[in-house]
């Protein structure tokens, strides 16, 4: 296998992947306790309420933590970052930091980031993050 593994969409995650395809980062928010959460599920993991809504997140985040992988992986050329970002709305998600040198010097914790989407297949566009404040 030489290609990046892609998700198989499930009923509970469809809105998220439809969102990335449309250029939107979609999260869910609980009407009961107000918490925004990720990954998707049709109930709130904090309070259990099924009254949840889907909303478009700002796409703004900060770099929470990461590693820079030095070995080849299917679909990747090392070195590449595997990162967890802190979304402005609260949840965290795994991603790759793109459009920046893959070095400890360039990748500073808490640096501001913004989401970008890259089409991988007809069904799947992946959300990546790049340093904030650059024009596309």
């Amino acid at each position: 296998m030489t290609e990046r593994p892609l998700p198989t969409i499930t009923p509970e995650t469809r809105h998220f992947w439809e969102g990335t395809r449309a250029g939107e980062l979609r999260l869910q928010r609980c009407a009961g306790c107000g918490d925004a959460y990720f990954p998707p599920r049709p109930f709130c993991p904090s309070c259990g309420s099924a009254e949840v809504t889907i909303f478009r997140a700002s796409g703004r985040a900060t770099l929470y933590s990461y590693v820079i992988h030095q070995r080849p992986a299917p679909g990747f050329v090392p070195p590449y970052s595997i990162a967890v970002v802190q979304l402005e709305e609260g949840p965290r998600m795994m991603t790759n930091i793109v459009q920046v040198a893959q070095t400890p010097e360039a990748l500073q914790l808490d640096m501001p980031l913004e989401v970008v989407f890259e089409r991988m297949s007809d069904d799947i566009s992946l959300p990546f993050f790049r340093p904030a404040g650059r024009s596309a």
Binding site: P7, V67, R71
Partner: protein, 380 residues
């Protein structure tokens, strides 16, 4: 389970350890199981309870010729065996069975008869982590550490010191795979795997196994070995996705499991003579020392650097050399338990003097699960 009411009456590892290409995974289970039966003076027919991970209990029962009336196939990663000990103690206490065999066998290096490692693309991890280039534990377990280091102002040199100290313990252990001394500079000069983790900060990948036999403490005198009593136990799980670990500087599963174990054992930290903390990577003893409450948050790196856990230190930690230097088949928790049993029996290669109370703490998945066992050389 009443503290001290259940005992470990048999314990053994596989005859060989490290690189065993002439043995399949199921045979590794059998090899250590047969060694543990011999250690306890038992036959397979004497076993009426079976727990294992990596292979389902059906496979191991059939292969060994065991007819269990209680089985546990809990598989939450490398600490599964801590959970098996806990569940077995409860089962024996509830009189569901009398004599439990727990086995681990893994052809982690040679991959003979081992199941393929896959992430289902429809699972949450398959959808929300796999597309970003994760490739085994070195790319996942390691992710929280930069946040940890920044939060507490710790350095990569301090992280390297964990590996240095554990190599000192390994040097005393003839069965350890890596015995040559290393310095902080050696660790920091070893090959970069996933920044900031270098080769010597990552566990070994080996073949091997281990098995335990548990029975009620009332029967313990009927067995040839010095009994090792179960004082307290704990377990928990958090998340299958490292990205969703609630706090990157502390493991909820560690805290929940450790607290249960200490409280059920009725011990305080000052009572602990010997400690094992599952070290798949160099940061795990830092999280373990803090989440179990041996030191305050952010104090573990200095504690280790001050040689408090090293040979001669006040809290001997990972005295077999750990996953970093002794062995690491993939689910190392069984080897941590084996070392705790040896230390309490007084038969360890790097024997700590007069171990009365010992704590063995495991991790499963990528901070996804935890199990903690408190053992003692006598009943309270």
């Amino acid at each position: 389970m009443k503290p001290g009411s259940i005992a470990i009456v048999g314990a053994a590892e596989t005859t060989e350890l490290g690189v065993i290409p002439h043995m399949s995974q199921i045979q590794l289970h059998a090899d250590c199981a047969r060694n543990a039966l011999r250690d306890a003076g038992l036959k397979a027919a004497d076993i009426d309870g079976l727990a294992c991970a990596g292979e389902v209990p059906t496979n191991v029962a059939h292969y060994l010729g065991i007819t269990p009336k209680w089985v546990d196939g809990t598989a939450v990663g490398g600490c599964s065996f801590m959970l098996h000990v806990r569940h077995a103690a409860a089962a024996i206490s509830a009189r569901l069975c009398t004599t439990v065999l727990i086995t681990h066998g893994e052809s982690g290096r040679s991959r003979i008869g081992a199941q393929p490692r896959t992430i289902l693309p429809a699972s949450l991890q398959g959808q929300f982590e796999a597309p970003f280039g994760i490739l085994g534990p070195p790319t996942m377990f390691t992710i929280p550490v930069l946040r940890y280091l920044k939060t507490y102002g710790n350095t990569q040199e301090q992280l390297a010191m964990v590996a240095v100290v554990q190599r000192e313990w390994a040097a005393k252990n003839p069965r350890a795979m890596m015995k040559d001394p290393v310095t902080v500079d050696d660790v920091l000069a070893s090959r970069m795997i996933a920044y900031p983790f270098r080769l010597f900060m990552c566990c070994l990948v080996t073949d091997g196994g281990g098995a335990l036999i548990l029975a009620s403490a009332e029967r313990a005198k009927d067995f040839p070995q010095r009994p090792v009593y179960i004082l307290g136990t704990g377990e928990s799980v958090e998340t299958p996705m490292i990205s969703q670990m609630a706090d990157f500087t502390s493991s909820r599963a560690f805290r929940v499991s450790g607290k249960q174990a200490f409280e059920s054992a009725g011990i305080r930290h000052a009572d602990v003579d010997h400690l094992m903390i599952y070290d798949a990577f160099a940061h795990l003893p830092l999280y373990g020392l803090e989440d179990l409450g041996f030191v305050g948050r952010g104090e573990a790196a200095a504690f280790i650097a001050e040689r408090r856990t090293a040979p001669g230190g006040e809290l001997p930690l990972n005295t077999n050399g750990g996953g970093l230097s002794y062995t690491h088949t993939g689910m190392y928790g069984m080897f941590a338990l084996q070392e705790t049993v040896r230390q309490v029996r007084g038969t360890a290669p790097a024997q700590v003097k007069d171990v009365q109370v010992a704590v063995c703490h495991g991790v499963g998945g990528m901070f996804g699960a935890s199990g903690t066992i408190v053992m003692a050389d006598r009943r309270p």
